[in-house]
Amino acid sequence: MDDNKPNQTVIEAEVPMGTVHPAALEPYRVRLFVEDEIVRDAEITVGVNHRGVERIMEGLPVEKANSLTEKICGICSNSHIWNSCLVGEKALDIEVPERAQYIRIIMEELERLHSHCLYLAHGNEVLGHGTFSMRLFYIRETVMDLLGMIGGNRVQYGASILGGVRPRCELDDNRIQQLKDGMDLMEERLTAFADRFVSDPMIMSRITNVGVISQEDAIRLACTGPTLRATGVKKDLRTEMKEYEPFDFEVITQDGGDVKSQLLVRVFEIPESIKIIRQAIRDLPEGPITNRSWEMKDTPLTKSYIEVPRGTLYHSYALEDGRVRHCVIRTPSMANIGAMQHACIGHHITDAQLSIVQCDPCFTCTDRAIQIIKI
């Protein structure tokens, strides 16, 4: 042993977590390799939830396959069905009525609101702040009621169909009034929450400089969505989508890359979503909500990217005799797993769960890949 160094033993150990673990809401497995309570390496294993949705979709009629994509995720279900319908509409050259586009945007932004509220509630629960967590669950109920009112179900509402939206999701005057009132209530409650959250010195000191992802690493690891925006990269796919062209909103970025920036990006994105919903209600065009004059034909592989609450979502499939072939779905959490592992490294083991939760993981979405053992 080198004489200059003090004679101390460094304990190296492996700390496994999962697949069912108290702090993790979903089943997944994390292996943390620690050295004196400092995480030196982390490994996240997914595949626990694999149900083979793409394989089930193979050969289904396109209308059925679209509604099946909704069952991939219970948090961002509208994003999946919307993107799947966009693929079909792009392939079959279906023109979607403008009113249907606006209703889809309203559903998507409502979903972003409840997803971000859930993220902040889960983050506060992991931080140990139960009061804020319950407060956010309470605020979230307003959005869930609105989604239930429009779609008829609180979680899987199935708004989009090929060529427009379902007749159940038509917005009449009564529903528009409820939406307006709901948005006012949301803004009031969330402003009160954000003021208290940002000005709380205990929470801010707990989450500053924890789980840092630098901008270079975020770009190298191909992060998407709010996880990337929290490192200072101004990239939001909504600014490039033609559906979002009529709306005026800001892309929120933060510079730190730590847990504080990740939480604050979501906190400040919520008012932007409320702004988009208000613009959509104000400018809601008249007209039909479904275009039924389209014909089925065989199409090559068509793809579509949209921005969902967690990042960029990719769907692609080809059509043969009205049936889906070669379906591929890639969800944002898949891209963010690298960031979750990277954020744990170099920090204390008690911060590991926070470092993983800060990237807003959704492992039920993520379990796409299978290991082929023999052919």
Binding site: T19, V20, H21, P22, L25, E26, P27, G47, V48, N49, H50, R51, G52, V53, R55, I56, G59, L68, K71, I72, C73, G74, I75, S77, L118, S133, M134, R135, F137, Y138, R140, E141, N153, R154, V155, Q156, C362, T364
Partner: protein
């Protein structure tokens, strides 16, 4: 009434296990117990993640092959008397994942839940509504309270 069942009636601990559902039911159950709107905690129903502390096991999702072993282990770790509630369409009959093409069973799914562990109460719905979960939990309680 024994002391144990008396104390159980005062504080029912629910353990929630995710076995590969879509997160919809899971968040509704957490919402039902924790959130101030439904708030099952006011009826002394608490959420726990420790099987040795739990009285009621709530299972969601079609049980994937990977999750079959952990689910059996969790069931065995819960002390007697215990009750199992299967919540959601997937847990009851496999949902959209089990019977993928007509009658061809899926290779990924080992469930539904009642083929793996005995189920006492079933809560239907996709996703389950919080009101139904409270009703399902209440219907499983006599098993705990009337046990010897």
């Amino acid at each position: 009434m024994s002391l144990k069942s008396y104390s159980r009636g005062r504080a029912v601990h629910v353990m929630l296990v995710y076995t590969g559902g879509c997160n919809g039911c899971d968040i509704e159950i957490v919402n039902c117990i924790l959130s101030p709107k439904f708030d099952a905690e006011q009826y002394k129903v608490f959420l726990t993640w420790n099987p040795r502390e739990a009285d009621v096991l709530v299972v969601t999702g079609p049980v994937t092959k990977y999750n079959e072993g952990p689910l059996r282990e969790i069931y065995q770790a819960i002390p007697e008397p215990k009750a199992v509630v299967a919540a959601g369409a997937c847990a009851l009959m496999g949902g959209v994942y089990k019977n993928c093409h007509g009658d061809i069973p899926s290779e990924e799914i080992a469930g539904p839940v009642d083929q793996i562990i005995p189920v006492d109460a079933k809560v239907p719905g996709c996703a389950v509504r919080p009101q139904d979960i409270v009703a399902g939990l209440v219907s499983a309680l006599p098993l705990l309270l009337n046990a010897e």
